[in-house]
Symmetry: C2
Subunit: 501 residues, 2 copies
C-alpha cells in the first residue's frame, strides 16, 4: 500500500510541506495507511486505538459515508448557485436538531471559515466591532480568528492582543478564578464578562459578540458551569452584541445527552449563532454556520452577496446527511452517554487511586483528565502527562494532552468507541500512573510537598523513559511558558498567572 518508505515520506515532507505543519510524536511520527471505526493501522499493520479523532465522528471510513459520497460524486458536484435538493434537505435536517429560532444556514468548508463568517454576521447585525473571547480559546487559523484566540496570539509575544479583543476568564471550576467550592461560579464568571463589557463601554468600545466553545477543547476540556451562558448572553444582548456558540469540536451528539453541547447549559439557553465543523462530514471538508432569521436578514441587507465556491455542494450535503443518518441509526448519542459514563467512572476510580489525577470531567465522549503534581496546589503535571501520552503510543493507543499547561489528557474518540476500548485504555493508564508514581515516589495523595514548578527529576526506571520522551517539553515558569506540545504538535505560550498553587 506504500509508495514510499517511512523515511522517504518524512524526507519528502521536510522538503515540500511547510515546517509550521507539525506531526504527532515528532521524534517518531506515525504513518497511518488504513482506519476502521475507532482503529487506525500503520504501514506495518499495527493497530492503534484512536481516542482523539473526533473528526472521524461516526467511525473511520464508515461505509455509509463512502456510499453517499460516491453516489453523489457520480451524479453531480457543483456550487450552490444552482438549486439542488441535497442543500435544502440537509439544511432542513440540520436546523431540526436546533432550537426553532436557529433556522438559517450558511454552508462553508471549515471551522475557520464558519467562525470568520459568524464574526461577519455579528458585526453586520450589531453594527459593532469588538469581540469577547475566553482565555485559552482557539477558534481557527485565519487572520480574524488568530486575533480572537488567546491560545494562539499569546504565543506571539506581549501586546499582540488587538484593542477590539476582550479576554474573559475561562469558566474553569477546577483551575480557574472561581472553583467548585464557590457558591455560584456561573454567576461569578458571568459577572466578569459584565465587568468587561462595562469597562469596554467606558472606553467607547462596542461589543459585537461574545464567542465561546460550548466546552473548551484546546483550552483544557473545560465544561462551563450550567447557567453561565444564559447570564453572559443577557449581558451581551444588553450591550447590543450576539452570542456565538462554537460547536466545531464538540457538537453532533458527542456529549451524549444532547445533540449540541450548549444544551448542557439548560433548555432556556439559545445562542444567536452556532458554528459547526470537524465531525460534520466525518472528515470531508465541510462546515456550517446557523443563525436566526433576524441576523441573516441584517447580513443580507448590506447587499453584499455571500458566495462560497465549495460550500453546500451536493456531495458535501450528501455526506452531511449520511452522518446525521448514522448518528441516529447507530444510536451514537446513546453510545456516547453509555460508554462516556463508563469511561468517566473508570477514570474517577483512577482519581481515587492515583494522586497524579487531579480532576476528571466530561460529558459523553468528551472527557478531560487533569494531571497534577500536587492535589491541593493543583500544580499541572505537564511532563507526566506527556510521558503518559508517549507511553500509550508505545502501547498502540492514541491519546493527547492539551490545555494551557498541556497536562490534561483529552478524550474525544470516534463515537463508536466501546466499553472494551474504555476499559483497555484506562487499564493502560492505570499501569502507567502506577509506574510513574513509583518512579517519582508519589504514593498517597498530598504526601509529597510540591513547591516547585520546575521539571521534576525522576530517580529510576520510568525516569529515564520520561526524560527520553521529553523532546519538546520545557519547564513551566512563572512568567511565560513557551513550549511545544510534543503530541498534538500545538505550540503555545501562556502567562502562568493562573497557577495559583
Amino acid at each position: 500500500m506504500e509508495t514510499y518508505s517511512k523515511a522517504e515520506t518524512l524526507e519528502l515532507r521536510k522538503k515540500h510541506i511547510g515546517p509550521s505543519c507539525k506531526v504527532f510524536f515528532a521524534k517518531d511520527p506515525i504513518k497511518i495507511v488504513l482506519a476502521r471505526g475507532q482503529y487506525m493501522f500503520d504501514e506495518n499493520g499495527e493497530k492503534y486505538l484512536d481516542c482523539i479523532n473526533n473528526v472521524a465522528h461516526v467511525g473511520h471510513s464508515h461505509p455509509d459515508v463512502v456510499k453517499a459520497a460516491v453516489k453523489q460524486m457520480e451524479l453531480l458536484n457543483t456550487n450552490s448557485r444552482f438549486l439542488h435538493d441535497n442543500l435544502v434537505q440537509y439544511a432542513k435536517r440540520l436546523t431540526a436538531t436546533l432550537p426553532e429560532k436557529l433556522s438559517v444556514c450558511y454552508f462553508v468548508n471549515s471551522g475557520s471559515e464558519a467562525n470568520d463568517l459568524a464574526l461577519r454576521l455579528a458585526r453586520q447585525y450589531s453594527g459593532h466591532y469588538d469581540v469577547i473571547t475566553l482565555d485559552h480559546a482557539y477558534h481557527g487559523h485565519v487572520t480574524s480568528l488568530i486575533d480572537i484566540s488567546p491560545y494562539k496570539f499569546n504565543q506571539l509575544g506581549k501586546e499582540v492582543k488587538k484593542e477590539f479583543v476582550h479576554v474573559a476568564p475561562s469558566p474553569d471550576i477546577y483551575r480557574g478564578k472561581y472553583r467548585e467550592d464557590h457558591e455560584d461560579p456561573a454567576g461569578a464568571y458571568a459577572d466578569d464578562v459584565r465587568n468587561i463589557i462595562e469597562t469596554a463601554q467606558k472606553n467607547d468600545r462596542k461589543i459585537a459578540a461574545f464567542i465561546a466553545e460550548s466546552m473548551q477543547s484546546c483550552g483544557g476540556q473545560i465544561i462551563p458551569p450550567a447557567g453561565y451562558f444564559q447570564k453572559v448572553a443577557q449581558f451581551v444582548h444588553k450591550a447590543g452584541g450576539v452570542f456565538i456558540a462554537d460547536e466545531v469540536q464538540v457538537g453532533f451528539g458527542r456529549v451524549g445527552k444532547n445533540f449540541w453541547a450548549f444544551q448542557l447549559q439548560g433548555e432556556d439557553f439559545v445562542p444567536d449563532i452556532v458554528t459547526m465543523g470537524k465531525p460534520i462530514g466525518n472528515g470531508h471538508p465541510m462546515s456550517c454556520v446557523v443563525t436566526t432569521r433576524e441576523i441573516a436578514e441584517a447580513f443580507g441587507a448590506s447587499g453584499l452577496e455571500y458566495f462560497n465556491t465549495f460550500g453546500g455542494n451536493p456531495v458535501s450535503c450528501a455526506i452531511g446527511l449520511a452522518v446525521l443518518d448514522i448518528i441516529e441509526q447507530e444510536d451514537l448519542q446513546g453510545n456516547a452517554t453509555h460508554v462516556g459514563n463508563y469511561l468517566c467512572g473508570l477514570l474517577k476510580e483512577q482519581q481515587k487511586k492515583h494522586s497524579l489525577v487531579g480532576d476528571v470531567r466530561g460529558a459523553g465522549l468528551f472527557i478531560g483528565v487533569d494531571l497534577v503534581k500536587d492535589q491541593i496546589r493543583r500544580t499541572p503535571a505537564t511532563a507526566e502527562a506527556q510521558h503518559i501520552i508517549y507511553k500509550l503510543k508505545e502501547r498502540k493507543i492514541l491519546l493527547s494532552a492539551d490545555g494551557p499547561y498541556r497536562n490534561v489528557l483529552k478524550f474525544k474518540p470516534p463515537m463508536c468507541f466501546s466499553m472494551e476500548d474504555a476499559k483497555f485504555v484506562v487499564d493502560q493508564i492505570d499501569e502507567l500512573l502506577t509506574d510513574l508514581e513509583e518512579a517519582t515516589q508519589i504514593r498517597p495523595k498530598n504526601s509529597l510537598p510540591t513547591n516547585t514548578q520546575s521539571k521534576r527529576k525522576l530517580p529510576t526506571g520510568g525516569s529515564s523513559q520520561l526524560e527520553s520522551n521529553n523532546e519538546n517539553i520545557s519547564p513551566i515558569n512563572e512568567t511565560i511558558c513557551r513550549h511545544e506540545n510534543g503530541f498534538s504538535g500545538e505550540s503555545h505560550a501562556v502567562p502562568c498567572k493562573r497557577i495559583r498553587t
Copy 2:
C-alpha cells in the same frame, strides 16, 4: 431523482439558506441534478452547455476523480499530523509544475483560506502589514480578504477601505488608464505601483505584499500586459514585500500554453507565493499555498503551529493527484490552446461583424468579450450583456457576465470544452447580437452616438425581452453603481470614475 419539486426546493431554500447566498437567474433559477463533462442536466433532463464552471476543470463527474476519491475514502481519511504518502506525493507533483524556488506547500480547504494564509506568510516574512491590491480585485470571502477586495468592499459605501490597503489600477489595456495605444502599458501600470509604494512609505507605512490574480476574473477577464508583474515584483521586493500570484481561478493549464497563468508574463517572472484553489480538486473542497523555503522558514520561526483540520487529508490529495493525471493524460492543456484559440478566433469574427463587441481577449479557455454601446467611447453595454446571458440560458447555454460594469461575457468552461461547443455558443451569440442590433438599430460600428449611460430604451421585439430580463439591472451612473449581477448573483457597487466615454 428529485426529493422535492423545484417549487419546494425554492421554498426550502428561502426558509433555510441565508438570503445573501444568491442563485443564478434569480427570476427562474436552474435546478441541476446531473452533469457530465461540459454538460449539465436539469430535473427535466434538459441539457445545458456549461461555459462557466472552471471548478469542474477536467469535466463534471469525471470517473477517474470519483474512482480516486472512493479508493482513498474506503481506506483512510485523516489529518496531516499523521504521515501519509498521498500528501507528500501530491506536494512533490504540484511543486514540479512550478519554478524550482516554489517548493513548499500548505494544504488548505478553499481559495479564501489560501489567500488568507498567503497574507499571514507575507506579513510574518516581511514584518510589514500593508497590502497593495488591484482595483476590482476579488480574493475571497473571509474578513481579511474582503478588506483587500475592492470588488467587495466598494459596495459597503464610502471610506470602508482600510488604511493598510492600497489600490493600484487594474492593468486593463482596453478600458483602463493606459491602453493598447500606450507605448509601454506594462511599465506605466507598474510605475503606478511604485508611486503607491513611495506614497505609502512617506506616510510611514510598510508594504507586506502585492497581491493580484494572474489574470483578473471577476474584475472583467483582464490579462495584464507581459512584463508588468516583473516590474511590480522589483518595486515590491525593494520595499521589503512579496509578490502573491492568485491562481485560484486561472491556474492548472487553463491558459493552455502554460500550466500557470503568471507564466504568461515571461519565464523570468517567479512570484514569491502562489495560491491555488477552485479547479484543483474538480469540485472537491481543497486548496493550496505554495511558497519559497525562505518564506516558509520565516513563517515557521514564529513558533506558531499551522494546523488545518481537513487540509492535505489523504482523500483530498488522492483527488488532487487524479486531477493532475487527467490534465496530462487527456492533454487538456493542449485542448485549452486548441479550442481556446478557435473560440477566440470565432469571437473576433463577431467583433468584426457586430459593433456591440468592443474587445475580445483571452488565453486558452479563459476569454472575455467586452460589450460596448459605442466602439470609440467604449461605453459598457451592461444591459445588453445581461440580455444575452438570459437569452443564452433559454437556449440552454450557461454563460456569465462580469467585470466592474458586468458587461464582459466570461468564458471559463470545463477544460474538455470542444470545437463543436465553441462553434455552437458563438453561433447563438451571433444570432442574439444580430437581433439586439436590429432592435436597437445599431448596425455599422460607431454609427450611433451614445452620450448617455442610462439604460437604453429599446423600441421593438427584442426590446420587451430585454426589459423583462432586467430584473436586477439598474443604470450605471456617475457616482455609484450599486447593482446586482442577475446572472452570477454577485452584487457590487463601483465608483464609475473609469467610465471615460
